[in-house]
């Protein structure tokens, strides 16, 4: 494998994590990761070595999610209650009742945010991108990214405080 391929392999767990932010149902997230990998392999000539592979790949993923979202709308597909339940179920990988409950509360709080705020929050707080990088992934000016982030962050803090999730 060359550097690009190795980088892409190493990114897979993070791609899946961001995919679940964009598409909470497990099967949808898996589709999104697969399509993103295929798109990345097909368009690797568009990646400039020396730039961040994570930002580049997240950008591909966001575009695919938007395209897929439009298709789904055309077909009138809605999230079924089963899928919603699966997406909200506690992650069995998290040990400890309290931790599991806190983790679930935080994931719920994130899912409750409007899409644009949720994406901004996930890229900066979970994936660790800078504001400038997150703005680039989402294709918005940095001022827009910042205001989405502020509003999302305020809602999260209020929700977590109301649920008694404290640091």
């Amino acid at each position: 494998m060359d550097e690009f391929q190795t980088g892409l392999v190493e990114l897979l767990p993070r791609l899946r994590r961001f995919a679940k932010v964009l598409r909470p149902a497990d099967a949808d997230a898996q589709d999104l990761v697969q399509q993103t990998v295929e798109r990345a392999l097909a368009s690797r000539s568009g990646f400039r070595p020396g730039t961040r592979l994570d930002s580049w790949t997240f950008t591909l993923m966001r575009r695919i999610a938007i395209d897929e979202g439009r298709k789904a709308q055309r077909w009138g597909r809605v999230l079924t209650s089963d899928e919603e339940g699966a997406a909200r179920a506690p992650d069995p990988a998290q040990a400890g009742e309290a931790l599991r409950a806190d983790g679930l509360a935080v994931r719920d709080a994130l899912q409750a945010l409007p899409d644009d705020q949720r994406h901004a929050v996930a890229l900066v707080l979970i994936e660790g991108l800078s504001y400038a990088e997150a703005a680039q992934v989402l294709g918005v000016p940095s001022g827009t990214l910042t205001s989405r982030l502020v509003r999302g962050r305020q809602s999260l803090i209020e929700t977590l405080a109301a649920q008694g999730v404290t640091g």
């Binding site: 897979l12 998290q94 040990a95 929050v121 910042t146 962050r153 404290t166």
Partner: protein, 243 residues
Amino acid sequence: MSLPDDETLMRWSDGELSPDAAARLEAAARADPVLAARMKAMSHSRQALAEAFPIAFDPRDADLARRIAAAGSGAPKPHALASLRARIGELLAPRHAVPWAAFAAAAFVGGLLLGPLANRDGGLTLRPDRTVAGAGLQGVLDQRLASEGADEQGLSVGLTFQDVDGRWCRTFQSERDGWGGLACHADGTWTVTALAALEVSDDEVRRASSETPAAVLAAVDEAIAGTTADAAAEAKARDAGWR
């Protein structure tokens, strides 16, 4: 200094303020408990998000990794596998304090080579500070004795000993998924200090399951104070909650 708005506090907690501005804000917070509480809440939201979404290994990623490896250059060749394995060993060598990202990546590449590292029930899920987050492994480290062999998920423990700081440490392995490691106990959690792929022979058939990877044994040698616990000492330490 005028009252800082939420955006300023957010930029501070995300490391997006200039060092001067951050220092001014921190100085102001020392004299203003309300401001300090707002800053704490802002930091907490960042920490809570990061903890709620740990890096997890998904068995389906191994298939995607094979797909990526196969793109353009054909399937990975045996010598390529060997060199990647060597790289994993190097990254996981106990002498090297590897950053978490490299640690996770190396463990993950091991998954590519040797089959899925983990499944969601019995697998390897670590938080960014390397503490064990997976209920399966946590339970095995907390409760299982070496004499009991592998559980239904294929997880087992091997050596149990106290390290130079008096912490209890145990080696563990997943025969099914092909990895083994060393974890030490403190404050109710297990921290993984070494992790390596189980040895494989040339024809990729796994050798006897009892073999602890060399990198893990080296980590044991480095950490151990005295000798390993016998079955009675192991059971006694377990019953005492590894304190």
